[in-house]
């Protein structure tokens, strides 16, 4: 069944969505969407570096994403600029450097659109192995550190006071994010990776009453979006990444319909902010 490119894309995309669900929830809860975006944009720098040093693309992207997150932590500690501004600088600087480097490398043929928006035709058996191997690693790490991660999400000082080592969980969180970006690039593309993490999580919010439920539902919604998006992409000859994101957005909008609230207790979703 993996002989045909569409089946490969489908299998790869579903595997990816199962991984991005829980990670996307953590990104939403921690308000780190822009941080994820910045790491994803650095992926093009990783692609350029991989071509330059002739290493595996996925490895190059993972290294670039990790370097950018480390750079951000170091700059944050200096405290000269707000995190917001630092993210804006890193995000676009790494994307621009990547684009410039690729343009200089006239000896390689680079399908820029494929990297930026995903290319289902390019999914190989090795990619599927990477997605399921990497995905299992990511889910394993998240399951192992779920309690500390959640505690630090609620309140970092509380987590530290009660011996939950929030620094370690933050580091593992960044590693998993870099891993997911590296394996997600081919399916949804650099510019849209964060969308695949965040939109299914946001769609799951109204139906979940515990963090764990929301994580599982985000995975299922993500898988649904991948399937719908890829079929749409095939049908209408649209790029795979944007098609998947559009499908996810449709799911999110459906979740906002009033009937969604009726499935659970009435107004319980309208939480007041805690004073």
């Amino acid at each position: 069944m993996l002989d045909d490119f569409f089946s490969r894309a489908l299998v790869a995309g579903v595997g990816l969505a199962l991984t991005t669900g829980p990670l996307g929830c953590l990104i939403v809860w921690r308000r780190m969407a822009y941080f994820g975006d910045t790491m994803a944009h650095s992926a093009l720098l990783g692609v350029a570096l991989a071509f330059l040093f002739e290493i595996n693309l996925t490895v190059g992207v993972f290294i670039a994403a990790m370097l950018v997150s480390m750079a951000l932590l170091a700059l944050q500690r200096r405290g000269a600029l707000s995190t917001d501004a630092l993210l804006g600088i890193l995000s676009h600087a790494t994307l621009a450097i990547g684009l410039v480097m690729v343009a200089f490398m006239t000896w390689v043929r680079v399908d820029l659109m494929g990297f930026l928006f995903g290319d289902i035709l390019a999914v190989s058996r090795l990619d599927i192995a990477l997605i399921y191997g990497g995905g299992a690693l990511v889910l394993g790490l998240l399951a192992w550190l779920w309690r500390p991660l959640l505690a630090a999400t609620v309140n970092e000082e509380l987590a530290r006071a009660e011996g939950m080592a929030p620094d370690r969980s933050r580091f593992v969180f960044m590693v998993t994010m870099a891993l997911v970006i590296a394996i997600a690039m081919k399916i949804v593309g650099i510019l849209l990776i964060t969308a695949l993490m965040i939109i299914p999580a946001a769609a799951a919010r109204r139906f979940a009453s515990t963090p764990e439920q929301m994580a599982v539902m985000a995975s299922l919604f993500g898988a649904l979006a991948v399937i719908a998006g890829l079929f749409g992409s095939l049908e209408f000859d649209t790029p795979s990444g944007p098609s998947i994101v559009v499908a996810a957005l449709a799911l999110f909008l459906l979740s906002l319909l009033p009937y969604a609230g009726l499935l659970k207790r009435g107004g319980s979703a309208n939480g007041r902010p805690v004073p």
């Binding site: 505690a151 530290r160 006071a161 009660e162 946001a202 919010r205 319980s268 805690v274």
Partner: protein, 285 residues
């Protein structure tokens, strides 16, 4: 009166946390300096002081959330801390029921969770989302979560914020009862200079340094207190009358009673305070 949680304890005070000359330096200035105090098992220590006086900084240093830049903080090995932070805003995107909040940092049997929620009076809210709780209910939930850990040391940073007065009295009584029942040490923070618990063993007044300290008995001015709150509540709350012999100017310098201005507090400022308070207490009696 000073209550002892465990009749066997006073003879052998087990020190849970000990701060010696602790100071925290951030953003080019000292948030607190020269803080010294111990918390023993079964003791309630209350930190009071105005906004920005370093109460939270001191408490966070005591439990290891912040590292002191000078001095030392010694904690009992394998100290279990239950912490109720001052600010805890839970993002609406995180679906969290009161029940799930209880097992945030450790798992507990369902029966114990029910018991803890019951002891703070919010058992009926177990399945409510935390974002939908009122300020007082949320504080109670946080308190239940902290005591579920069976902590050696309970640290409560302004536990009565957002609670109305009668709820405040009830919450202070509850905190005293927790100490009596479990024998844990409690570090309590109050921004309110006038209301501290009657069951507090030690009151420490902070303003960038330890201004004064003592048992509430030595600092209570009961006449004004009874006038304000009535005789019945006198057993629960005490007024802490407060006069400084120096004023902290906005630029960080210190103006003394005689009008002189210095860069820092004098090391003996605190002693002046202590005498002041003793005198007041004497007059009040």
């Amino acid at each position: 009166m000073l209550k002892k949680s465990d009749p066997t304890e006073p003879a052998r005070r087990e020190i849970l946390v000990s701060l010696k000359g602790a100071g925290v330096h951030r953003g080019g200035r000292w948030l607190v300096r020269n803080v010294e105090f111990d918390i023993a098992r079964g003791e309630i220590v209350t930190l009071i002081g105005p906004n920005g006086s370093g109460k939270s900084t001191t408490a966070r240093t005591a439990i290891g959330v912040l590292k002191p830049d000078e001095g030392s903080v010694k904690r009992l090995a394998s100290l279990t801390v239950g912490y109720v932070p001052q600010k805890l805003a839970i993002d609406w995107t995180l679906p969290l029921t009161v029940e799930r909040l209880m097992t945030l940092t450790a798992s507990h049997p369902a029966a114990e969770i029910r018991e803890a929620l019951d002891s703070v009076g919010i058992a009926h809210l177990a399945r409510a989302e935390v974002q939908a709780l009122s300020g007082g209910e949320f504080q109670r939930a946080l308190l239940a979560r902290a005591i579920l850990r069976k902590p050696d040391l309970l640290v409560l940073d302004e536990p009565v914020q957002g609670v109305d007065f009668s709820g405040e009295v009830a919450l202070y009584e509850l905190i005293g009862a927790i100490r009596d029942r479990t024998g844990c040490g409690i570090l309590l923070i109050s921004h309110d200079l006038h209301v501290v618990m009657a069951s507090t063993d030690t009151v420490i007044c902070l303003n960038g340094h330890v201004c004064c300290r003592g048992t509430p008995q030595t600092v209570v001015a009961s006449r004004e207190y009874q006038k304000l709150f009535g005789a019945r509540a006198a057993g629960t709350l005490a007024i802490y009358r407060h006069h400084h012999d120096h004023t902290h100017l906005p630029d960080g310098r210190v103006q003394h009673e005689d009008g002189s201005v210095t860069q820092h507090c004098h090391p003996d400022d605190g002693h002046h305070h202590d005498h002041d308070h003793h005198d007041e207490a004497g007059h009040a009696r």
